[in-house]
Amino acid sequence: MTISYYLVLAAILFTIGAVGVLVRRNAIVVFMCIELMLNSVNLTLVTFARSTGTIDGQIMAFFVMVVAAAEVVIGLAIIMSIYRTRRSASVDDANLLKY
C-alpha cells in the first residue's frame, strides 16, 4: 500500500470541504465542511510523518485537533447568537452588510 493513496484521499477530502464551504447555505454545514478540511490536513500530516520517518507530523495533528476544538466553541457560540435573533442559520439571510 503506497503512501500516496492517503495523500490523494486527504486532498479529495480537503476539496470536498472547500467546495462545501462555497456552495452550502447553512452556517452549521459550512462550519462542518471547514472541520472536514482541518481533518484532511490531519490525515496529510500523519501520512507525511510516516513517510519522512519523523514524529513531528503526529504531534502537529494533536495541535490541530486542539485548535479545531477551540474553534468549534467560538464558532458555535457566534452561530447560536445569530440564530437566536433571526431564527435562521442560513448565510444567505445574513445580508445586511453589502456594497
Binding site: F14, G57, T85, Y99
Partner: protein, 514 residues
C-alpha cells in the same frame, strides 16, 4: 525522555506579560465583583500591553538576536520592532475600548452578548449603566497572539498564534452595543471566512512539512535552496500565502474586510485595522524572507500580481463608498497593496531596504488608521455613530477641532507630504524601485492618486458644504479617547516632519535571525 527546551525568559518577557495579563483578566472576570471589574480589567490590560512595550524597548538595549524555546521563537530586530508596534497600538486600542463618556449607554460593547438582539431584555439592558468587561481579556489575548505571530520561527507556532489572535477577534467583532444585527453578521462572516483561510494555511503547512520534513523556517530554507521547484513545496507555499494574505486583507482575499469593518464596534475595527495588519505583515515578511528568501523567484510574481490587484481594487471600490467605515476598509485594502510593494523591495541575497521600509510603513499606517477610527467614534447621532458620509457635511463649521484632526489623518492616509503617510509611502516605493520594480511603483502612484480623491472628498465635505439640519453631533471625548487622539495625531505629524530617528531604528532592526 523528552528534553526541556531552552527558554530565555528575558527574551520572552513581552509575550509573557501580555498573555499573563490576559489570563489574570479571565480570573478577574470570574471572581471580582461586578462594580469594580471595569477599572480593574482596564488597568490589567493596560499594564500588560504597556509593560510589553517597555519590555521590548528594554530588550533592544545591548541586544542580541537569538532563537529560543527550542528554536520555535525568533527574537530578532523585526520581531522586537513589530512587537513594540503591536503592543503600543494595542494599548491605544484598549484605551478606545475603555471610553465611557461618549455613548449615553456608557460603552460601545453589549452588556450580555447572549441576549437575543431586539428582545425586550435586550432593550432593557441597552439603557443600564452596566458595562461588559470580557472584551479586555479577549483583546489582550489577541494582542498576545499577534506578538507571537511576528516572532514565530516555526510554521506550527505561526498557526497556533494565528488562531490565538483570530478567535478573540471573531468574538469581539460581534459584541456591538447598538446595531447588534450588523455586528453579529460581521462576526459570522469573519468567523466562517477566517476559519476557511486558516484551513488553507494549515494545508500549506502540511504540504511544506511533507516536502521538507520540517516546519522550522531555517530548515525549510535549506530545503528550498536545494530544490526550490518541488511541486509539493510550491503548492504549500501558495496555500500558506493565501492564508496570510487573507489576514492582511489583501485583495482578492479581502471580501470580508468591508463587512467586518463596518459591522464590528468601531474601537474593535480600529484595533483590527491597526494591529492585525501589523501582525499579518510581520508573518508574511518572516515567511517570505526567512523560509523562502533564497527561492524568491517562486513568490515574487505572485506577490507582484496581488499587490497590483489589491491597490486597484482598494482605490477604485473606495470611490463608490458612502459609509466612512467601509471607505476606510477599502483604504485598508489599498494600503495592504502598498505594503506588498515594500515586501517586494528585497534584493537577491537579502539586502535592500524593503524590510525596514515595510516595518516603518506598518507603524505609520497603524497609528494613522487607529486615529481615524477614533475620530469616527466621536461623531454620533441618536443611534450610535454617524458613519454615513452625508452626516459629516459641514462638520468643520460645527466642530473645527474634530474636523481638523480627521483631516490630518485623511491627508496622512492619502500620503500628503509632512504627514507620516508620505514618509511611509516614499520609503516603500524607494525600496521597490531599488529592486527594479518600477512598473509596480507606477501603478502604486496611480492608485494613490485615485485613493487621494476619496480621502479629500471627505475633507471637502467637512469644510465646504452646508451643515445638514439633523446632522451628526460631536461628542465630547473622555480622557482615554483624548489620549488616543493626541498620541496618534502627534505621531502622524512627527513621523511626517522628523521621521529620521524612527527610520534609523527600523533600518537597524531590519535583519532576521535564522
Amino acid at each position: 525522555m523528552i528534553e526541556v527546551p531552552d527558554l530565555s525568559f528575558a527574551a520572552l518577557a513581552p509575550l509573557l506579560l501580555v498573555l499573563g495579563a490576559a489570563c489574570l483578566g479571565v480570573l478577574v472576570e470570574a471572581f471580582a465583583p461586578r462594580d469594580v471589574r471595569h477599572p480593574v480589567q482596564v488597568t490589567i490590560a493596560l499594564v500588560g500591553t504597556v509593560g510589553a512595550l517597555a519590555a521590548t524597548l528594554l530588550l533592544t538595549v545591548d541586544f542580541e538576536r537569538t532563537v529560543t524555546a527550542g528554536g520555535a521563537l525568533a527574537v530578532d530586530g523585526p520581531a522586537l520592532f513589530l512587537q513594540a508596534t503591536i503592543a503600543g497600538l494595542g494599548a491605544l486600542s484598549i484605551l478606545l475600548f475603555a471610553e465611557r463618556s461618549l455613548d449615553p449607554a456608557r460603552s460601545a460593547f453589549v452588556v450580555s452578548a447572549a441576549v437575543p438582539a431586539g428582545s425586550p431584555r435586550d432593550r432593557e439592558l441597552l439603557t443600564t449603566p452596566r458595562v461588559q468587561t470580557e472584551v479586555y481579556p479577549l483583546a489582550t489575548f489577541a494582542i498576545g497572539g499577534m506578538m507571537l505571530f511576528v516572532a514565530a520561527n516555526d510554521l506550527l507556532i505561526m498557526f497556533v498564534a494565528l488562531e490565538v489572535l483570530s478567535l478573540p477577534l471573531y468574538l469581539i467583532s460581534g459584541m456591538a452595543r447598538r446595531r447588534r444585527l450588523l455586528s453579529q453578521e460581521a462576526a459570522v462572516k469573519y468567523f466562517l471566512l477566517g476559519a476557511f483561510a486558516s484551513a488553507f494555511f494549515l494545508y500549506g503547512l502540511a504540504l511544506v512539512y511533507g516536502a521538507t520534513g520540517s516546519v522550522r523556517l531555517s530548515e525549510i530554507r535549506e530545503a528550498a535552496s536545494v530544490d526550490g521547484s518541488g511541486t509539493l513545496l510550491l503548492l504549500g507555499l501558495g496555500l500558506l500565502i493565501v492564508g496570510l494574505l487573507f489576514k492582511a486583507s489583501v485583495a482578492p482575499f479581502h471580501t470580508w474586510t468591508p463587512d467586518v469593518y463596518q459591522g464590528a464596534p468601531t474601537p474593535v475595527t480600529a484595533f483590527m485595522a491597526a494591529c492585525t495588519k501589523v501582525a499579518a505583515f510581520g508573518a508574511i515578511l518572516r515567511l517570505l524572507y526567512v523560509a523562502f528568501g533564497t527561492a524568491e523567484w517562486t513568490w515574487r510574481p505572485l506577490i507582484y500580481a496581488v499587490a497590483i490587484v489589491s491597490m486597484v481594487i482598494g482605490a477604485v471600490l473606495g470611490l463608490t463608498q458612502t459609509d466612512l467605515k467601509r471607505m476606510l476598509a477599502y483604504s485598508s485594502v489599498a494600503h495592504a497593496g502598498f505594503l506588498l510593494t515594500g515586501v517586494l523591495g528585497l534584493g537577491s541575497g537579502g539586502e535592500g531596504s524593503g524590510l525596514a521600509a515595510t516595518m516603518f510603513y506598518l507603524l505609520t499606517y497603524g497609528l494613522t488608521t487607529l486615529g481615524a477610527f477614533a475620530v469616527l467614534t466621536l461623531v454620533r447621532d441618536g443611534d450610535g455613530e454617524a458613519t454615513h458620509l452625508s452626516q459629516w457635511a459641514g462638520l468643520g463649521a460645527r466642530s473645527p477641532l474634530t474636523a481638523a484632526v480627521m483631516a490630518l489623518f485623511l491627508l496622512a492616509l492619502a500620503g500628503i507630504p509632512l504627514t507620516a503617510g508620505f514618509t511611509g509611502k516614499f520609503a516603500v516605493f524607494r525600496a521597490a524601485i531599488e529592486q527594479g520594480a518600477w512598473p509596480l511603483t507606477v501603478v502604486a502612484l496611480l492608485a494613490s492618486a485615485v485613493a487621494a480623491f476619496f480621502y479629500l472628498r471627505v475633507i471637502v465635505l467637512m469644510y465646504f458644504s452646508e451643515p445638514v439640519p439633523d446632522g451628526a453631533t460631536v461628542g465630547v471625548p473622555g480622557i482615554p479617547t483624548t489620549i488616543v487622539l493626541a498620541v496618534t495625531a502627534t505621531a502622524t505629524l512627527a513621523l511626517g516632519i522628523l521621521p529620521g530617528a524612527v527610520l534609523d531604528l527600523a533600518e537597524q532592526a531590519a535583519r532576521f535571525v535564522g
